[in-house]
């Protein structure tokens, strides 16, 4: 489906933890056509500021419901967190090119999430459910870990890393990934690694995957003016020149990106 601009009703908009919120929208059309890794451009208020839309990745779909999670980090997300159930939001979506995954993935899939990076990966885990992917989740501390129960509910195997060691492996999720790949027998090596998280984490994932000769798919986050390919504001450097994160991405092959 090509992206459309629609007004959708807010089913719920609740704080889940710290500064993180879960937003549920009613849109059968988007729920049916969205694929993991795609995003919505949300006009957080009908009038006034902020001016530009905010891109937020799709966290999941359920029937006609579209779920998003977001962290309140600036004026846009702050205004969004004030929007209430029953109100309508002007959105454009679904946008962008999501994760590539076959119906029967070759080899195991590993998902690596850092912080809010769980957002698109839970949606992917749902689609990969029969293959029971391994999910590595990293956060600053136990308190900041998100969506553990949801991943478990999809039958995913989980491994956790926290910077302060308050849960799971003490250290970066990428260190955990590297160790895991080193210890893995060749036959058990994953066919695909999917990752979403802060830029330094994605850079590390790309490097580790290159070292182990495994292909990676990374979901990037950038400021955008339009979100649908017109402004050329969100470009990222790749081996074949600048590419738009909103159009050719937000998911890119790790080996294609120039860091």
């Amino acid at each position: 489906m090509t992206a459309t601009q629609v007004k959708v009703k807010i089913i719920s908009n609740r704080k889940i933890k710290n500064n993180c919120w879960r937003l549920e929208l009613d849109s059968g059309a988007i729920a049916r056509s969205a694929s993991p890794g795609q995003f919505l451009e949300i006009k957080v208020c009908d009038e006034g500021l902020p001016l530009l839309r905010r891109p937020i990745s799709i966290h999941g779909v359920n029937g006609s419901r579209v779920q998003l999670i977001y962290e309140v980090v600036g004026s846009g997300t702050r205004v969004l967190s004030g929007r209430r159930k029953g109100e309508f939001l002007d959105i454009i979506g679904p946008l962008g090119k999501g994760f590539e995954y076959g119906r029967k993935p070759v080899g195991k899939s590993v998902l690596v999430a850092g912080g809010m990076g769980v957002a698109p990966l839970l949606f992917l885990a749902r689609r990969l459910k029969p293959a029971k992917p391994l999910v590595l989740i990293g956060a600053g501390s136990k308190e900041q870990l998100l969506c553990l129960q949801e991943f478990k509910a999809f039958g995913c195997r989980m491994a956790i890393a926290t910077d302060d060691g308050s849960a799971g492996f003490k250290g970066k999720v990428t260190e955990m990934l590297d160790r895991l790949l080193r210890e893995m027998p060749d036959a058990g090596r994953p066919g695909n690694i999917y990752a979403c998280g802060p830029q330094p984490m994605l850079k590390a994932v790309a490097k580790i995957c290159r070292g182990h000769n495994i292909s990676s798919q990374l979901s990037l986050e950038r400021h955008m003016a339009c979100g649908f390919g017109a402004c050329l504001g969100c470009v990222v450097s790749t081996k074949s020149g600048y590419k738009r994160v909103c159009k050719e991405g937000p998911v890119f092959k790790g080996e294609e990106l120039v860091w």
Binding site: Q5, L51, I92, A225, A230, L232, G233, Y242
Partner: protein
């Protein structure tokens, strides 16, 4: 009761006849294809393409955009596929729309590149007009052509000499006197002027103590610049005879009419296209309704007809 006449939205920009006065500003509408899923492109007054250069240009280093109070800064740096690819890959789509297509062009190093571009575009039937972008703030130059009246005159004159297409000159607001440059463009044979391009601005992230865009300075657009742009349109309107295409933070029907009252013959949406991709068509229908409601048969009746506010 006398039946009200149906408003006539047509306007003339030099030799171009537009079915309505609502256009889209260069650089904010890609090559139109990007917007086809959101609207019926054929209902636009005209389309101005993203600026084309002779050679492909990769543009500036990211980050290239950031939001600012009621506006945005950009430093895209004229990323474009170059004239060869543009003609081959973008013109066929634009041609099928059967509305006036205005191609924006710019030079990278030497002004002569404008002549090369104009000569190539002169042969293409689908191209109704050429817009001379002599005012992009995002290319590394000490001074823009549009910041000097005699350079503007010489360039427009040179391009005028090699093409019969309608010529529009896009002016910079980053000057002491826009009318002075507009006059130079008119005298050299420009059939219209488009104003304004973006204002040079900066935005700083205090936590990183760094500029929000990689190029340090960029072009400011959006509602933040609207009063400045309206003032410049008014100043130019009082000095020149050729039509003005007014732009700068037009977000709705009210702001579009504001530019007409200041003297614009046509208006362009810019930043608004990024937020509400079909906004220009909303402005077309809003304009028609405003004309009907106010018994305006032709926009000429209100163009430049602003009054002084009195108590």
């Amino acid at each position: 009761m006398v039946k009200k006449p149906k408003p006539d939205l047509r306007v003339e920009i030099g030799s171009c006849i537009l079915e309505n006065p609502v256009m889209v500003a260069s650089g904010t509408f890609g090559y139109a294809e990007e917007f086809k899923g959101f609207m019926d492109l054929r209902k636009l007054g005209a389309i101005v393409t993203k600026t084309i250069t002779v050679k492909p240009r990769s543009g500036n280093l990211p980050p290239r955009t950031c939001e600012t109070p009621s506006g945005m800064l950009n430093s895209v740096g004229l990323e474009n596929p170059g004239i060869g690819s543009f003609i081959k890959e973008k013109i066929p789509f634009l041609e099928d729309l059967s509305i006036p297509i205005i191609v924006s062009i710019a030079s990278e190093d030497k002004p002569d590149e404008f002549l090369v571009l104009a000569e190539l575009l002169d042969r293409i039937k689908a191209v109704s007009a050429i817009e001379l972008n002599i005012s992009c703030p995002n290319i590394k130059k000490d001074r823009l052509i549009s910041q000097d009246a005699s350079e503007t005159f010489n360039l427009v004159k040179a391009v005028r000499g090699i093409t019969g297409k309608c010529l529009i000159t896009k002016l910079s607001p980053n000057v002491t006197s826009v009318p002075e440059i507009a006059l130079a463009a008119q005298e050299a044979g420009s059939e219209a002027v488009a104003l304004v391009n973006t204002f040079i601005g900066m935005s700083i992230d205090i936590h990183k103590r760094a500029s929000r865009i990689n190029s340090l300075v960029g072009g400011l657009s959006g509602p933040a610049i609207r009063p400045l742009a309206v003032r410049m349109v008014w100043e130019v309107y009082n000095k020149i005879k050729v039509p003005i295409i007014g732009m700068g933070g037009i977000m709705d029907i009210e702001s579009a009419i504001e530019f007409v009252l200041a003297g614009a013959t046509a208006v362009s949406t810019g930043t608004a296209n990024f937020i509400d991709p079909a906004i220009s068509l909303g402005i077309v229908s809003g304009l028609r309704k405003h004309m009907e409601d106010n018994n305006i048969a032709d926009l000429r009746e209100i163009r430049g007809k602003l009054k002084i506010c009195a108590d």
